[in-house]
Symmetry: C2
Subunit: 502 residues, 2 copies
């Protein structure tokens, strides 16, 4: 029997994955162990592999094989193979639709804009970054036009990270979230309560933090036989193949929660990666479906599990054994309050579970307005500060800690921010569904039982890869369309009891 067009596509994609997984290793190594002087050559290695990968992915032969599959109706069935063909087509079109000149211009502009952004933040000088951002916004409009969209140019960009999501839907859901979240945060502030956060700022030896973090990651189901935990400056979950998932974190010997929750967060991503079907590695049905779904897995383990009272009912004892001096005399309820501090603050990456999504909503609203041309880049800092005052009740004292704090826009990442909040929304919605299916999760956590939840996620989320779109997958799992209600219910319950602020 001769090899079918589908078989050829699969073989080609699997071979490409040998290169992309090698790129992943180059990246992981760069962020963990690369000697300082080796950065320039590493950039050359990365660029060369990117060239090889791009050539393979835009090879006209791929388009022909896809055409053959489609002529045979292979993309129409309700099967993993059909899903592969449909998703490969989407990827191929996306990659071949952009004029090479635009791709090159985007890449050059991003490179210059990132440098300009770094300098501008350093000098607290938005004006020097402004022309770069203006140029980038213009190019992103061109990109949206080239990619095509039904309703809004923003959709075209959003779909790069969150296939199937629309700005119309997000505006509705995030609007509803904001309307209920801002008053909750206000009530938290008004309560005047202060959790005893100093218990987290004691002597926590790094080696012991690592041991404890690995132990918890293992307990929630992360497999260190197919993974690792290393140190980096900006924590991420990487890897270099189907059985090779690498978590990273950073430690502060005087602070417990930062490294610990990084580990839990990245382990949540890692569980997703380890739950993807290894035998489909390199194919769409062996890949994560969207950034929002990915983030839902990390946020669920970090916040809904790892900041729950039930979780610490089990782990507070082992914690005390690991850090006897630091935990001596600390009560479980005080510790629980400390790791759930909520407080409006300026910096997104340091924000807590309650305020985080308001940071995202600010960015989501502003980048839409920028792309639509409703907000000139020159007016961005004022608009930023106004929204921070309105939603979070604080005004940044300078642009470095305000509009210049994130790297994203300088890289051309427009439509990326909302995936963080989508992650929180999906996490709560899926967690409720898991609760309905598995019984009292709190009871299980308090007993140290995390496998039922992990296995449920594996069955209902991880193993499907990109078989379903992100909104479709979430609706299959939870039986409901995206809503702000599960997240708000969770936040109200938690902060109501902690701050008396429901």
């Amino acid at each position: 029997m001769s090899e079918s067009a589908y078989d050829k596509l699969v073989a080609h994609a699997r071979e490409t994955a040998l290169l992309t997984s090698t790129q992943d290793l180059l990246f992981w190594d760069e962020e963990t162990y690369l000697p300082p002087a080796a950065g320039d050559y590493r950039a050359e290695q990365v660029a060369y592999l990117a060239k090889l990968v791009h050539a393979r992915r835009t090879d006209p032969q791929v388009g022909e094989w896809l055409g053959e599959c489609e002529a045979d109706g292979l993309d129409k069935a309700d099967s993993v193979e059909a899903a592969d063909v449909r998703e490969m087509r989407r990827d191929f079109n996306k990659r071949t639709k952009l004029p090479p000149k635009l791709v090159e211009e985007l890449s050059r502009t991003a490179s210059l804009a990132q440098k300009a952004w770094r300098d501008a933040r350093q000098a607290d000088d938005f004006a020097s970054f402004q022309p770069h951002l203006e140029k980038m916004i213009g190019l992103k409009r061109q990109e949206a036009e080239a990619l095509g969209y039904d309703e809004s140019p923003y959709d075209a960009l959003l779909n790069d990270y969150e296939p199937g999501e629309t700005v119309a839907n997000l505006t509705k859901v995030l609007g509803a979230l904001r309307a209920e979240l801002a008053p909750l945060v206000e009530a938290i502030v008004a309560s005047g309560k202060q959790p005893p956060v100093r218990v987290l700022e004691r002597d926590y030896k790094i080696a012991a933090q690592r041991t404890f973090g690995k132990r918890v990651a293992e307990a929630i189901g992360f497999d260190f036989n197919s993974g690792r935990l290393d140190v980096t400056a900006h924590p991420f979950c990487g890897g270099a193949g189907p059985q090779d998932v690498r978590l990273t974190t950073r430690y502060d010997a005087q602070e417990f929660s930062s490294a610990f929750y990084s580990i839990l967060h990245e382990a949540g991503h890692g569980l997703y990666e380890q739950g993807l079907p290894a035998d489909r590695y390199g194919l769409p049905t062996g890949e994560a479906v969207s950034l929002g779904i990915h983030e839902s897995q990390s946020r669920m383990w970090e916040n809904l599990v790892g900041r729950s009272h039930a979780f610490w009912k089990h782990w507070f004892g082992p914690l005390g054994e690991q850090f006897p001096a630091a935990i001596k005399g600390v009560e479980l309820d005080d510790f629980y309050f400390a790791i759930n501090e909520a407080r409006p603050s300026l910096i997104r990456v340091e924000a807590d579970e309650a305020t985080y999504n308001l940071h995202i909503i600010v960015r989501f609203e502003l980048e839409q307005a920028l792309l639509a041309g409703d907000l000139p880049v020159a007016d961005l800092p004022a608009a930023w500060n106004e929204k921070y005052q309105q939603y979070l009740g604080i005004t940044p004292p300078n642009d470095a800690d305000g509009v210049l704090q994130d790297v994203h826009w300088s890289c051309g990442l427009i439509g990326y921010f909302p995936t963080y909040t989508l992650g929180n929304l999906y996490a709560s919605q899926m967690f409720d569904a898991a609760h309905d299916a598995l019984g009292d999760l709190d009871e299980q956590f308090a007993q140290g039982e995390f496998q039922p939840l992990r296995d449920w996620l594996r069955t209902h989320v991880h193993q499907h890869g990109r078989r379903y779109g992100a909104p479709q997958l979430a609706e299959r799992v939870t039986g409901k369309p995206l809503s702000h209600e599960p997240l708000m219910a969770h936040l109200r319950a938690k902060y109501g009891s902690l701050y008396g602020a429901a």
Copy 2:
């Protein structure tokens, strides 16, 4: 101006180096940090990159560019460019001369033979390995014929590792070495003296071993800004680019010298790699010239420097500060004697400076006889044991600790072993030349001054890459052809004073 054939060759080779350096990273990672379950996929990544690299290196276009350069006489000059063309031609011919079917057969046989070797060593059962070795020897004969040679088929294989060396020359030099070395070892044994080796087998904390090893590596000139030190099972010096040289070692918390001398040995290799001209990375003139010259650098720092009395005159104080409990009450002279213990033993990789080369000479003589057909594989174990008795005065009690101890022959590495002894010979010969040029090296070492030697090696050896052949380079550096005399003089002086055995 249009790009010349030489320019095209250079650009092509540099692009290939982006892939080979990535292969190097895959290898380093596999030996250091790869999760246990990720081995199978890593093998696929390695095989795929090897395929890409092989296709580039045997691309007929390379042969055409080389032809153009040669037609212009570009290979004739006394310049780095001419050396590049000559060496690229040699590499290209070597890679294109072997019939693909033979390459495939060698690869398959090696894979099966390595597995069979592992099982045979485990079971102490040479007979089960014998057919694999017979097949391999037959294939290596075919390889030698395909590669071509002037005098002996062995030369063709030897030249893969030691370009320009001949079996005739090695037979002469190694024969002379054996004739003087065996009696020296006999005299050491006859002296009945025992160094106090137990001082090395105390409590040496691994973290402190690492700190001390890095400190010494840095002091001899290894640049950790362009390098690293990690842990592995079988120490090696690897890396992933021109500014990225990675040492590895393994630690035993109850033994000092094994990890320390691994670090010094690999740092010697590392100094060579860091001394190659970075701007010619990927070109022959940016590469190490031969295994023997490479080994001369590691052996010089490990043995001639690191096991000298002068070296410890400087470092014994810091050692005592690093390991106060272990070194308490130990005299410098006793420590010096302990790290220079000489004693005939069965296992090559555990052998000391005095006996090591006898292990190599056994293998060199036997593999020649195997290839020439003078020794049937069935008779190899008996021949092995006889030579061990004759040269080292001991007979292996079984084949596992005798003829089955090394992996090399199962991989098809015939002609490789002598490069270890070449390293020791070149090291002594170059060290004498450095001594003549730099004045009393012992005096410098005792003051902690290692930069003059490193810089001298950089100027006279490292920076030339493959500009000269190995024998030519050594003769340029030392003014003399290869000889056993400097090494014998060094060993006689050291062991004469330690054992009274000159």
